[in-house]
Assembly symmetry: C2
Homo-oligomer: 496 residues x 2
Amino acid sequence: MFESAEIGHKLGKKEYKREVPALRAGLLNAQYDLGELKRFPVLIIIGGVDGAGKGETVNLLNEWMDPRHIHTHAFGPPSDEEAVRPPMWRFWRAMPPRGKIGIFFGSWYTDPILRRVMDHTSDAGLQQHVDEIFRHEKMLADEGILLIKLWFHLSMERQKQRLETLEKDPHTRWRVTKTDWRRFKHYEKFRQVSERVLRETSTATAPWIVIEGTDPNYRSVAAGKILLELMRNRITTEKTRVTEKSPRITTPASLPKLDNSGLLSGMNLKQRISKGRYEKQIEKLQGDLNLLSREKKFAHRSTILLFEGMDAAGKGSAIRRITAALDARRYHIVPVAAPTEEERAQPYLWRFWRHMPRPGLVTIFDRSWYGRVLVERVEGFCPPADWTRGYSEINDFEEQLMHGNVVLIKFWLQISKEEQLRRFKQRETTEFKHFKITDEDWRNRKKWGPYEAAVCDMVDRTSTEIAPWTLVEAEDKLFARIKILKTIIARLEAGR
Amino acid sequence: MFESAEIGHKLGKKEYKREVPALRAGLLNAQYDLGELKRFPVLIIIGGVDGAGKGETVNLLNEWMDPRHIHTHAFGPPSDEEAVRPPMWRFWRAMPPRGKIGIFFGSWYTDPILRRVMDHTSDAGLQQHVDEIFRHEKMLADEGILLIKLWFHLSMERQKQRLETLEKDPHTRWRVTKTDWRRFKHYEKFRQVSERVLRETSTATAPWIVIEGTDPNYRSVAAGKILLELMRNRITTEKTRVTEKSPRITTPASLPKLDNSGLLSGMNLKQRISKGRYEKQIEKLQGDLNLLSREKKFAHRSTILLFEGMDAAGKGSAIRRITAALDARRYHIVPVAAPTEEERAQPYLWRFWRHMPRPGLVTIFDRSWYGRVLVERVEGFCPPADWTRGYSEINDFEEQLMHGNVVLIKFWLQISKEEQLRRFKQRETTEFKHFKITDEDWRNRKKWGPYEAAVCDMVDRTSTEIAPWTLVEAEDKLFARIKILKTIIARLEAGR
C-alpha cells in the first residue's frame, strides 16, 4: 500500500504556485455548496507516520477553506467523562452535522494500531477492532457521510531525516518529543500493522488514500485535490439525485406465514397474577432492586433499560414501577419521539449516543433505536434499504455498549388487539388519561399486522446472546410488571 | 426564616390519604399542560438540612408525576470536563428545555454555603456569591423559567434524632455517612449561613419555600401542593397572556445626539498601512501569536475571541489571519446564525455556554451574544424589556467567564457606509464572493443609523475593565488585521 508513497514525489515551487489558486477557489466553492445543500457532512480522517505533515496539511486545509465551517478535533487521552463510556462515544460527540466538515486527528484507528504495535493486543484482537471499524464506517457511509481517509506516509529513512531536521531548527524543535523517537524505533512494526489495517478498511465508499509526506508542496496539493474531487463528485451526485419519497414497499425480509405459530402468536397472553400476590411480590422486588442499585459493582456499570411495545401495552406504568424502586438521582428516562433538528442533521444512532449514561446511572428508553425497524419500516419513513441494514447496525451498536461495560436489558410488551381496543376506549373516557390517546394511535392500530411482522423480524434478528429480548405478556399489567422487575433483577445479578 | 418550620408540623395518615389522589391528578395534569404549552420550563432547586427528606421528596415527586418528563440532576464533585470550565457551566448543561421539569439536587447554592460554613471563605466572599446567584436567578426568571426553590428544614434536635433513627435501622443505615455527622457538628453555623443566603435570595419571582422535614406526610403534601400551585398559576398566566409580536419601539436608552462627536463617528477610519509594511508585520505577529499559543500558561487558560462588526467589515478575513497562526487542533470557530430548535427551547445565553472551550483551546465567535443588543434590538426580534436587561446579563456572564479563567477579547469592526457599499458591489461582481452578499445585507444597510446607535450603547454599557471592547478601524482591512493581532498578543501576554 505504501510503495507509491516512497518514490520521492515532489512538486516544484512554480507548479505549486500555479496549482493553488484554482484549488483554493474550488475547495471554497465546494464547501459553500456543501453548506447550501445540507444533505451530507464530510468527515476527514487523518492518519499516518509522525512527521509526515499531518498537522501542517490540516492547518493548510483550514487556511484554504472557510474555517468557520470546519471543526478539527484532536483526540488525545480521553477525558474522564469519555473514559467511562464506550470508546466510540467520544467520536460520536464530535460528529459533524450535515453541511459541515469535520477533521479527526487521531481517530478510531489510532488506539487499535498502536496497541498492536506495542504488543498490547494480539493479531486476533486487532482483527476484531478492524472488523468493528469496517462495519462502523459502512454504517456511516450508508447514513450519507462522505468519509475521506488520508494517510500520510514517510519511508523509514525519510522519517529519520525529518525528525532530525525538525530537531535541529530551534523553531521546530518543540515538535519532536521523546514519544516520536520511541515510536520511530517501532517503525517497521508500525508500517506492517498499519498496512494491514489500511488494506482491510479500504472500501469502495471509503478507501484510504496514501500520500507521500516528504515534500510539503506535493502533499498539500495532493490532499487538496483529492478532497476537492471527492466533495465535487458527491455534490454532483446529490444535486442530480431524485429526492422523491421512497416508495412504501416492504421487502420480503420475513419468512412466509405458513402456519399459525409465531413468536408473538405463541405467547400465552392469558397469564395473570392476583392483586394480592402482586402487591406482595412487587414490594419485595422493588426492595431487591433498590438494594442492588446500591451495591458497589452497580456503581461501576451503566445500565440501559429499553422498552418497546404495542401502543397502550403499559410501557409507561411498568417504567414507573421500576423508577419507584430507584433514587431519582440515579435514573434518567428518555422518551423517544420525533428527532430534533440537530438530531436530524446526524446519523440515525447519534441521538441515542447522546444519552449514554455514566457508570452508576440507569437510562430508561421509552421507545428506542428500534424505531428504525418498527415504525420507520411500517410507516415507510425510510426506504427499505435503510431499515434492512438497521438490524446489523443495531447489533453492532449494542455490542459496542457491551464492550463499554453497559448492561442492556430489552423488553417487548405484547397485548392482544382486543385488549388494545379496550384500553383505548378506557383512555378516551377516563379524564386523566384521555390525553394519552390520539388519532395516531387509532391509525397505528390499523397496521397491527405489519407491526407484528416487524416485531417478529426484529426479535429474530436482534435478540442476541449479549442483548436478548425479553418478550413480556402484558395483557395483565400486573403480571407484566412482575416479569419485568424479575428480569431486571436477574440480569443485574448475573452482571450483564 | 426557619421559625415556622420548627413547630412540629404533622399530617395524619387519614388526611394524607385524602389529600394525595387529587394532588397527584393535579400535578399530572399541570405537567401535561406544561408539555403542551412548551412556553417555559420548571426548575426545582432542592436544598436544606441532611436527613430532612430531600431525596424522599424528589423520589415521590417523580412517582406522582410522569418521570419521563422530569430530569433529576445530582451535582456531586464536578467531572474533569466540568472542573476546568466556569462553575456555572455544569448547571447550564443540565438546564431543562421549555415544557420539561428539571430538579437540581445540589445547586449553585451548595458550594457557597458549605464554603462559608467551613470557613473557606469570608463573609464578603459569601456576599459576592449571593449577589451572583441573585442576578443569575433574575436572568433565569426574566427568560421565562419557573424557578421553584424548596428548602427542607429540621431543628437541631430533630436532625440529631433523625440521623440516629436512620442509623439504628439496618435498612437505612447506609444513608448516614461520616460526612453527615461531621456536618451536624456545624449545625448552628449552617443554620446561620443558610438563613442569610435564603433571605437574600428570596425574591418576588423566586422565593425560597421552607418546609419542615420532620413528618414525611406533611413535607410531601406541602411540597406537592406548592409545586402544583406555582405551576398552575404560571400556566394560567401563560394561557391568557397576549402573544402578539411586541411593538417595534425603541426605548430611549441612548443619550440624545446633541453634537457630532460619538464613539463611532470619532474613529479615525483613514488609518491605513502599506502592503509592504503589512506583509512584514503580519508575519512577525503571526509568529508571535503562534509562540504564545504554545506556552505552558496558555494551556491552562481558555481564550475566547469575539467578533462583531458592520456587514462586510472584514470579520471573516481577520479571523482567518488569526487561525493561520494557530494549530487547527487548538481552535474552534462558532459562526453565530439563527438558533436551532434545541437552542430556542433554552434561555438566550445557553447556546453560548455550550461552546465553552476547555483550557488550552481558543474559541472564536463570529458574531456572538451581543446579537441580543444589536440585531435583536434593531430588528425588533425581542421586546425592549428583553434587550435592555441584556447589557447587565452579558456583563454578569462575562464576569463568570473571567472567574472561570477565560480570557475574553472583544472586537468591533467599523467601516464607513460608503466603504460598505463599495464592498457589497465588489462582492456582487466577484465570482467567489457573490455568495457572501444577500438581500438581507441590503436590508440591514438601510438601518445603518439604528445599528450605529445600538453599537454605541453596547460599547458604553459592556466595555468593562474585565472585558473591554476594542474598536477596530476596518476601512483598511490590512490595518484592521494588524490592530487585531496586536491586541490579541498584548492581552494574552498580560494574561487577561
